[in-house]
Symmetry: C2
Subunit: 563 residues, 2 copies
Amino acid sequence: MAYQAPVEQIAFILNRIVSFPQLAETELFAEATPETLNAILTEAGKLATEIIAPVNRAGDLTPARLENGRLRSSPGYAEAFRALAEGGWIGIAADPEHGGMGLPQALNMAMNEMIASGCLALQLNPLLTQGQIEALEHHGSDALKALYLPKLISGEWSGTMNLTEPQAGSDVGALTTRAERAGDGTYRITGQKIFITWGDSDVTENVCHLVLARLPDGAPGTRGISLFMVPKLIPDADGNPGVANDLRVVSLEHKLGIHGSPTCVMSFEGAQGWLVGEEHKGMAAMFTMMNCARLGVGVQGVAQAEAALQQAVAYAAERVQMGPIIRHPDVRRMLAESRAEVFAARAICMACAVALDMAKATGSDEWAARAAFLTPIAKAHGTDVGIRVSDTAVQVHGGMGYIEETGAAQYLRDVRITAIYEGTNGIQAMDLVGRKLMDGGAAAMALLDEILDGAKAAQAEEPELANQVWQAAETLREATQDLLDRDLDARFAGAAPYLAGFARVLGAHFHLRAATGGGSKPLARVHIARILPHYAADLAAARAGLDDLLAVDDRLLAGQMPG
Amino acid sequence: MAYQAPVEQIAFILNRIVSFPQLAETELFAEATPETLNAILTEAGKLATEIIAPVNRAGDLTPARLENGRLRSSPGYAEAFRALAEGGWIGIAADPEHGGMGLPQALNMAMNEMIASGCLALQLNPLLTQGQIEALEHHGSDALKALYLPKLISGEWSGTMNLTEPQAGSDVGALTTRAERAGDGTYRITGQKIFITWGDSDVTENVCHLVLARLPDGAPGTRGISLFMVPKLIPDADGNPGVANDLRVVSLEHKLGIHGSPTCVMSFEGAQGWLVGEEHKGMAAMFTMMNCARLGVGVQGVAQAEAALQQAVAYAAERVQMGPIIRHPDVRRMLAESRAEVFAARAICMACAVALDMAKATGSDEWAARAAFLTPIAKAHGTDVGIRVSDTAVQVHGGMGYIEETGAAQYLRDVRITAIYEGTNGIQAMDLVGRKLMDGGAAAMALLDEILDGAKAAQAEEPELANQVWQAAETLREATQDLLDRDLDARFAGAAPYLAGFARVLGAHFHLRAATGGGSKPLARVHIARILPHYAADLAAARAGLDDLLAVDDRLLAGQMPG
């Protein structure tokens, strides 16, 4: 059975769980009416099901390749991408001044989810372009905006992010790519970048690279890095793609999954670039882009989980082994737990998107802090769920899950990257307990208050579920306070389980809201009885500190006896 | 860095954790002395590191293939297999009467682990041959034994198991392959089998298929199934491979991993077969073979976890991002938790092997019940750990983990099958709470008593760790009692979390034994602080029953709104 966009489930979460309707009460998003929401979800769902999903398998079987230095994308990708671009989907959250629709990120992320369910490898292209649009909107000069935004928003051109170098992965500050002032207001960029997603494209007529590089007078580390727009083809006087810039794709990586997405080694050889934002302030500009991109990647995890789960449910309904296996208790457990996890992860991502939108619409620092706090949770938890559910979906298929033709294994291979790129999930967890607790825990505690209020409100109708959520939130509050009292290394040692525990409690909170607000009570029970309870162990581990980890001998780790 | 066989860690577990030395006190295994143990581990470790591991990558890149209906195995496999066979390794646990060494399964499994760390796809071949040897030893006629066992033990011939058919996976009783009496004491076998591992081989001169089929007067279901030996080449009067039997490989599967292991669709077209055991009693004979094979698969999980973890540790020691990442708290957490899990899973598998050996050596029902109880835990938990640790090893590599050339992704792809074949992990869990609790919980409670005794003994030296293990074991006892009071469907709904919870407690028990017996206290602390505590949530889920799962609407599972 093919992927069916879960339009009603997404609409339910937006409308009933994460307060999407409040956006339409703001001036900025007055057009985000129920009618708009329905129209967007329905049309994007059709696109995902009918146009995007059908090319997913071909991209896996026929990866993007280089032919005499030129990229050849997978069969059907160009046509599918054109349908997406021509529908105006890339710019639905972009500034109307340059051709965007100015709709909320929440709708954009709902659209992104469905497209990413259809084909993750292809969806990466518009997702990165959206990140570039956002970076330019915030930091680009008027000239850059006027030149690039209309082309990016229309999908005629696509965008990339060039951060990583062989020696500079999570440690971006170690980069060595050089920028030199050309004397005419432009710059010359020289260096090599790796892991550049869609670093070349034959589905768009130009590729616009945002490149981090260091000027000769740039300080070492992250403080001396600048951001440049470096187009593959330099726009001519009319803004059309002109002469080729001095850059090239050296090679493509051979990857576990997302074969249809070309992952490029890029060489910049004195390429002409234009400054984005201020000199030496490139990291700030890049962070703007990364926050939304991180949420977008969390949404990719949800997307792949949804698609993989749908396939597993369809298989389980058809596969007979002493009755359809969907009725076997252990199979049903796998499916119901997976559905509960998808619901929770989607709600977390959508809550983050609404917070981003409210921050933008109201200028409220509280909403901005909420969005910033939720972003690493949405990214890491969304992608963890993506991997876990895709893995379970393989298991539900039994032996057939291990056969590539079934397609279940592709979801697992494809989604695996989402826990790594845009900052590994470990980096996300460190961001959560480091930077995102630098407010003394204000954002965390505000969220916890909301969870406790929710439990109180649900007490009358669902006392047992409400009590469990209440208890979990109280334990989470203690753990949060405990982490605030510790040094950064001890926090980092507990970062990943803290993030996992927070996500469990938050997910249970949204399930409780559903159980008392027209959603599925049984699904909430599955989450709160089977997924939530691990919070206690997560939060115990979050508080376990660094000492026991350091005390484990390196030789023992490596399989030898301690020295 | 290449795989280094963890000889000392395995020896420590055998000698200090799972009471291997008691085997040498039995008459049957009097030769299993410390000297034998050291010699076997050292030599098998060398073989694994120097001969087997070097062909692992080639098998992934150049899968086994069919050429005009004949199998061509991956480059280097034939030579590596010959070294294994000529070293006498296949038959180290086999009956000396037919050329085996008659050593304990515990040593055999230690050897199997190291070979499977080197190359899982290749190791499947001798593992299945060992299963066939065991089935023939128990159920074969003297003539069959005399003809086949020497050839299988020497590795001149290899063995397969033919259970699965398209409509009969976990439900073996649904099989339709027919057997007919030929009138000369032999049988004619007709039907199609799928997922036949190493269903053909060019690394051995003959392939011996054990095939489940139904005689015309066989009852429906599993009670009417018989087991047959169906050789690819029918032995001539001198016992050498003679004329080709009427069977063929129809095709090979294209799989997520273990590309070097040919997974065959087999067609038996009136092939000549010889009965193994009694007519209609094939399932019993097959179960003999499956129990040891299941432990062997659990060991494969441990093996892949070990190899993947070693690679991740080596990478983390070398990779510098503001210092070597092995010193980063979150990376260290991943590595230390993984090492703690590998220790626990290996100890569980080895405890199961020693129980099998003690049962064989003493004829004790208690040891047999212990082995039977531990088998599904060893299989499911060992392979779950294999997948979890291999997945973590990918994550430790960051972006490099997603690039196939790194090799980390291969471990994840390869090990993924181990949770599926030889009975899915769901089937294992159902076996545990169903068949393995049919003794009224006697085997479970005997094991729990031992865990509680261990905690008591460790109380003086490690009070905190001992108390946590004690508490966990008490909770596990309550959960076990609770499951015993429930009907089978309710048990099945909680089977997987029950198995996971039992494995956590058992793993902590072995860690505690290590902490107070010359092993690593810090590693025990990591397990007991970070991995054990999830037992509470596991056991709560184990007791949650079936009702909430059934109440989740099918349409909701599939991504639609409830009907």
